[in-house]
Symmetry: C2
Amino acid sequence: MSSTLKDIAEKTGFSISTVSRVLHDNSKKYKISEKTRVTVQQTAKDLGYRINTLARGLRLQKTNEIGVIVPDIANPFFSALIKSLAGELRKGGYNFIVYDTDEDISIERSAIKSLLEKRVDGLIIASVGQDFSHIQKIRDASIPLVMIDRCFDALDIDSVSVDNVKGSLFAVNHLIKEGHTRIAFIQGLPGTYANETRLQGYKQALHDAGIAIDEHLIGGDDFRSMNGYLETKHLLTLSPPPTAIFTAGDLIALGALEACREHCINIPADISLVTFDDPVFTSYLSPALTAIEQPIGKMAEMAVALLYRRMKNPDDERTKVLLEPTLNVRNSVARLVPQTNTMHSN
Amino acid sequence: MSSTLKDIAEKTGFSISTVSRVLHDNSKKYKISEKTRVTVQQTAKDLGYRINTLARGLRLQKTNEIGVIVPDIANPFFSALIKSLAGELRKGGYNFIVYDTDEDISIERSAIKSLLEKRVDGLIIASVGQDFSHIQKIRDASIPLVMIDRCFDALDIDSVSVDNVKGSLFAVNHLIKEGHTRIAFIQGLPGTYANETRLQGYKQALHDAGIAIDEHLIGGDDFRSMNGYLETKHLLTLSPPPTAIFTAGDLIALGALEACREHCINIPADISLVTFDDPVFTSYLSPALTAIEQPIGKMAEMAVALLYRRMKNPDDERTKVLLEPTLNVRNSVARLVPQTNTMHSN
DNA sequence: TTGTATGCGTTATCAA
DNA sequence: TTGATAACGCATACAA
């Protein structure tokens, strides 16, 4: 077992406070004699002393931990986000604890509960996002919190996300510019901030171009690849099928790719594909995917900055940051000449 | 702020012990009158009571937390592994704290330090792996520990990993069977368990086939994609270049892909590629990669099982589990007719 | 320059 | 059926 300040105190003959001061107070520079400093440090080392952060946190009412909650840690977008967050937090001397909610709101609730029980100093949450009563509660308990990626317009909370509407506009407008009009949208989890805003952008782009919205071309219900796979299979049975598919997330696009391959549908010759999110591998896919990239590093940076500010000034005005997405054009979209469209019907 | 047992005790008029028993002892069933139970629970709710795990952990000398350390959380292999570990640990009622060491042994050291200071009940470590004095220390301090993916043969510690030698044998033998003899190997981080064993398998396969080992065909120094990119560029300048490349990890393969694309080298027509690791996207790459798959779910399951056993019986004999990898043949390897080989020289 | 005493929130032991 | 109290390990106000 690990030794304590008391052990060291007894061994050296000094008091616990003196030992504590040499070991954890070197900043404030109490006037401690060189000699006692050395003996204490030496025996601390001999005894394998290791501070107990539980005790320390209890005493200080501060843990130096930030809780981070994401819907799916294995999703490339979120794992990259976590990595960036970790780097930013470390800079400020904070540790962090991640929870993966598996897109399940009840797990999200218990994750928050768990984190608060650990007395984290702050929270960064990419919420599942279908409901926010539990989030509201955190805010009311005035524990520092910033939402990331998934926000709630209805809530006055610090948040940073990409401009999803604009991202969808970029994607769909690109498709329209290339001559597509029958453009399908495979959604992520409905009710989710990310999903609803992306859907909104999709609809708006069509509307702006004077293209009627066909509800048959909108499907899907979560951000996983299986959803992309199933929905794409379904879309391919339509008559005529869409000439292009826009997917709400990277994993969905992977599923779409699989369905197309299975049906020997060539992308982009037979059908075009654009996706939200742009993980490292999109450019190596077959074909390289045209995709909407989110500035992940920047998101993490802003989120942590907002959190620090909130921890410092609890009553500052809340800020909602909206970052610019980017359209990365690659090889998954075909140019359509107007008549081609009907040739695809069967 | 959150209320405490004391607050509830004062408000209800009962003692702290009674309140504590009502709120956290429902198992042991003290004989507490229905009436006090109800009032206590009600006011606990009213006051927004939330247990303080710091205090509890301090008192109990047990935190219910498991520390997990990985070299790169954004690497698809590790993010999948973490997800699996999380699921397994939750089953046992444990929370977990992840650290990302960025393949940096000094960060690994401080991660371990940090985790021990938090008094985690156990540790699962995918070590950077070049040195193990710090790991040895944990073992000596007799805190439950299991190594995963990256192990130390020299250390008597519970560990689970895939049979890397066998994986490499699968990969290289496949290449040899297809007629390749000039097979390059792009390494991950040298000194690492995963790397050294994979290298060993590579060499053994060549040796068994009577193919001389050409040190010029072995390069690379970490598991990131930039390494794959740079090394591949280098390999392409060789005269003659290799007819096949075997990469030690998925990210390295991605880099190799990029270099080939940049040089207009077609895979597999101009050069074949096989990689260790098989994340979800390999089959959608261009071309779909022939790859060595690790049984991630099983690894997580075994690791957690070993950890639980160790926590229960600290002095049981240590176990080293070696799991079977799988060769997934896809489209990144060309069959070579013997003469073709020389035609590639320039 | 160092020591004493108190409290952070819990649980466990013992007593009532 | 409930309460008083000590202890977990640490940091700090106050004393010396």
